[in-house]
């Protein structure tokens, strides 16, 4: 159905979408006045990143830790929760499920102000663990919903036969059901990772120590440099470092990304 003029038009639109990413990657290694890369092409801007304050390594480590903890917490909580909501009847089940979904309705900012105070009380303010716990909470509506429908899609006789064979419900979950809901787990994990890696306002409010900043905040802060002169080369390099893992993960797991929307759209 695509003739040449349509190909040119749609291809042009696709290029418009790819252009900023291609530009940022090229600009980060190309010569530019006012950056660390003045003569010829090279990785001078990335060296600026490495030398910035605690160093890009520290910020990458912070972001990686926060993202991994968020993914693990989200997977564990939503796996158990999805199992409970899909396979068991217990008093308060529907109320708890609705309450979990209600997190979606409340603005981040509304929750972050009291969370700032609450985490201080709990000794978790300015800590990467506290940050991960809050990010996990923000992931729970989608993750719990996704895991619940994943468990509901498993044929009923699968867990029942395991229980008859003398498995406890936990062993049945671990050995029989986890493999069956693996695609759901991958989708939940991917979304949790992307959200945690990229979140900006949560660490902005909860993390005050510059050594503990995740990468997006560190790159954003880097712009306020000496005498108001912004090193755009370093910003471009920072964007590349931020975007690279997301784009790679996305391209590898694109199918699972799309599936997350299908489930929401079909039920919603």
């Amino acid at each position: 159905m695509f003739r040449t003029p349509q190909r040119v038009l749609t291809g042009g639109l696709a290029l418009l979408f790819l252009f900023p990413l291609v530009w940022a990657s090229l600009a980060s290694v190309s010569p530019q006045a006012g950056t660390a890369q003045i003569d010829g092409w090279g990785f001078g801007n990335y060296r600026t990143l490495i030398d910035y304050q605690a160093g890009v390594g520290q910020y990458l480590l912070n972001s990686t830790l926060v993202s991994l903890m968020t993914v693990v917490f989200t997977l564990v909580v939503s796996l158990l929760g999805g199992y409970a909501f899909a396979m068991f009847r217990f008093p308060g089940r529907d109320a708890l499920f609705l309450l979990t979904l209600a997190i979606l309705m409340v603005p981040y900012a509304t929750l972050l102000i009291p969370l700032y105070v609450l985490l201080t009380e709990l000794g978790l303010q300015n800590s990467l663990i506290g940050l991960s716990l809050v990010l996990t909470m923000f992931q729970l509506p989608f993750a719990t919903f996704m895991m619940r429908i994943s468990f509901e899609a498993v044929p009923k006789d699968l867990p029942e036969s395991a229980l008859v064979d003398g498995c406890g419900s936990f062993r049945a979950l671990l050995y029989i059901l986890v493999p069956a809901v693996k695609p759901g787990l991958i989708t939940v994990g991917l979304f949790a990772f992307l959200a945690a890696w990229n979140d900006f306002i949560t660490p902005l409010v909860l993390i005050s120590d510059s050594e503990k900043l995740p990468l997006p905040l560190a790159v954003a802060n880097m712009r306020q440099q000496v005498m108001g002169i912004v090193d755009f080369g370093a910003t471009e390099a920072g964007v590349v470092v931020l975007a690279f893992p997301c784009i790679v993960l996305f391209l590898i797991l694109q199918r699972h990304y799309v599936r997350g929307f299908m489930s929401g759209a079909l039920k919603g």
């Binding site: 940022a24 929760g81 909501f85 009291p114 993960l249 759209a265």
Partner: protein, 279 residues
């Protein structure tokens, strides 16, 4: 059985209780208390926080700007996403390439995308001089439209995907029937596709309106609320009241309760509008 169900649901319940229910209770209490960042709770003072918020000189400009931004973004984003979904709805190698190109920006964080456009827009590093635009962020209007372009770039693929799922749920024989009745392309689109896509469109509108009403990252990074506080959104005002300048948690809590109420009302209206049209 009951006990086991609760045992598996317990982690979820704990998370929801500690990080959602308790904070909601705290924010409600804060909104009626004299509660500063540094001194903590100094007792009940309602309705002072609310009247302070309404009297803040940036409150009405922020509300107005947020509404304007929400309307502009939602209209442009949904129209473009629908067009893109129609372009890529058949599967082929070419549409596969198009879909991936449109979707790649959605893998980026909003903050990363904003930083990217910050460099893209700044006179020192922009590759866009050939457009002849004097300043991308220098005037209130330019700042608004530049931010809209960033948001459209970042989110168009995401909404295209949601609409694509809806498009693919429309059975082929409906189109066949329209064709046999002699409907042209535009008529088919207007009288078959759009009505059958209504629930997907409504869901996109709800997500887009909610997201835009709560806009923060893009303005915090791109414009810092400037020029002349012209691009301060409501959530930015909350942040400023709490942690930047005023350091008044009570006032910020009062404003965030107002935002929560506005969001609930807008969403209820949108759901109701959707149901009435279907009924």
């Amino acid at each position: 059985m009951k006990f086991k169900g609760w045992a598996y649901a317990a982690p979820t319940a704990l998370f929801v209780l500690i990080f959602f229910v308790v904070p909601i209770a705290i924010v409600a209490r804060m909104s009626v208390s004299d509660w500063r960042l540094l001194t903590g709770n100094r007792g009940f003072n309602a309705p002072e926080n609310f009247s302070d918020v309404l009297g803040d000189r940036l409150f009405w400009p922020a509300v107005w700007f947020t509404v304007k931004y929400t309307v502009v973004t939602t209209v442009i984003l949904l129209a473009l996403a629908l067009l893109m979904a129609l372009i890529v709805q058949e599967s082929s190698r070419w549409t596969g390439f198009l879909r991936t190109s449109f979707l790649v920006p959605s893998a980026l964080g909003l903050a990363s995308a904003s930083l990217l456009f910050y460099a893209l827009y700044s006179p020192q590093s922009t590759p866009l001089e050939f457009l002849g635009i004097e300043s991308f962020l220098g005037t209130p209007n330019a700042a608004l439209w530049s931010t809209v372009v960033l948001i459209v770039w970042r989110f168009a693929g995401f909404y295209m995907l949601l609409l694509l799922v809806g498009l693919q749920a429309i059975p082929g024989d409906v189109y066949e029937a329209a064709r046999l009745d002699g409907a042209g392309r535009w008529q088919t689109f207007r009288h078959v596709t759009v009505p059958l896509l209504r629930s997907s469109l409504a869901m996109c509108a709800i997500l887009c309106v909610t997201g835009s009403m709560l806009a923060f990252d893009q303005f915090y990074i791109l414009t810092k609320g400037g020029p002349d506080n012209s691009t301060i959104t409501v959530v930015q005002l909350i942040y400023n009241m709490a942690f930047y300048g005023q350091n008044n948690l009570g006032r910020a809590a009062a404003l965030s309760i107002l935002v929560l109420a506005a969001l609930l009302i807008v969403n209820v209206l949108q759901f109701r509008g959707l149901r009435d049209k279907e009924g």
